[in-house]
Amino acid sequence: MDKTPIHDPSMTPLPSTTTASNVLQPKAMIYICGECHKENELKSTDVIRCNECGYRILYKKRTKRLIVYDAR
């Protein structure tokens, strides 16, 4: 039995080298502050700090992909 979780196939990124991305570049993602737990929207060009309290350690949110595990 394979131990790797099964990922939703529609979410797998395309392996092509010249990816014509139809998403805004840079993409804005939500990160969670380590201290006040506020959700900050950050682009890849922004400085890494919380908008509210200035804490510089931010965490990523759990993936939106459906992860299925074997109960083994």
Binding site: R62, D70, A71
Partner: protein
Amino acid sequence: MPYANQSTVHVTDLNEENIKFIIENTDLSVANAIRRCMIAETPTIAIDSVQIDSNTTVLFDEFLAHRIGLIPLYSEELVDKMNYHRDCACEGFCPQCSVEFTLDVRNREEQTRNITSADLMTSNPHLVPVTSKAKNDDEGQDHFIEHILIVKLRQGQELRLKAHARKGFGKEHAKWIPTCGVSFEYDPDNILRHTIYPVPEEWPHSEHTELSEHEHEAPFDANKIPNKFYFNVESTGALKPETIVLSCLNVLKQKLSNLQTLLKHETLEGP
């Protein structure tokens, strides 16, 4: 059948958890095959696929999925009607080969919240965790039913998941084993000397002994063979004890019948 044994079975005790019986006039290999089959090849239903939507608990995803898989489900009503997932005509999950479960708990209070098997919501009321199976007692709900603890939540922690239960048997994974333990005994007084006691006086008498108080070991008899087998089958609750025994015999019969059919084909194809 001229050379077949005329075996007999006596059930000495039967309750909700245990069945005790004695098989006589059969071979040791047959009794052992029944024991092994009861453990590893009697089909039950258990959760086999867990999709976690949100998990902020102290345990990681795979840990939770593993624990949820081990929860015994009362399979008595559905196990014969379900197909094995690999035999089912559907792609993925369908009501013929799986039953869906849901769990959605968020702790909003200050004190610790225990997520137990009672929080697992089933889509088919015929398949519930063993601890949720309401006991049909005259006293009603007086018994304290201890549900199986999955994980504990602090304030603000959450667990949300969907799971699918499938049919299977012990050979594939231990979660499908319907027994807690199968006790198997023969020759309680060591007439056959299948074991050698260094000091026979040290060993207590078995409950099936025919020895008197001061005797420790019966005299050796070279001509005897193992003949009488004492079984005690304890169920986890997934199946009734009598169902375990009967289902096991069915499975054994199937296997022997398959073997016979294949052998017939072999001999027909001979040179």
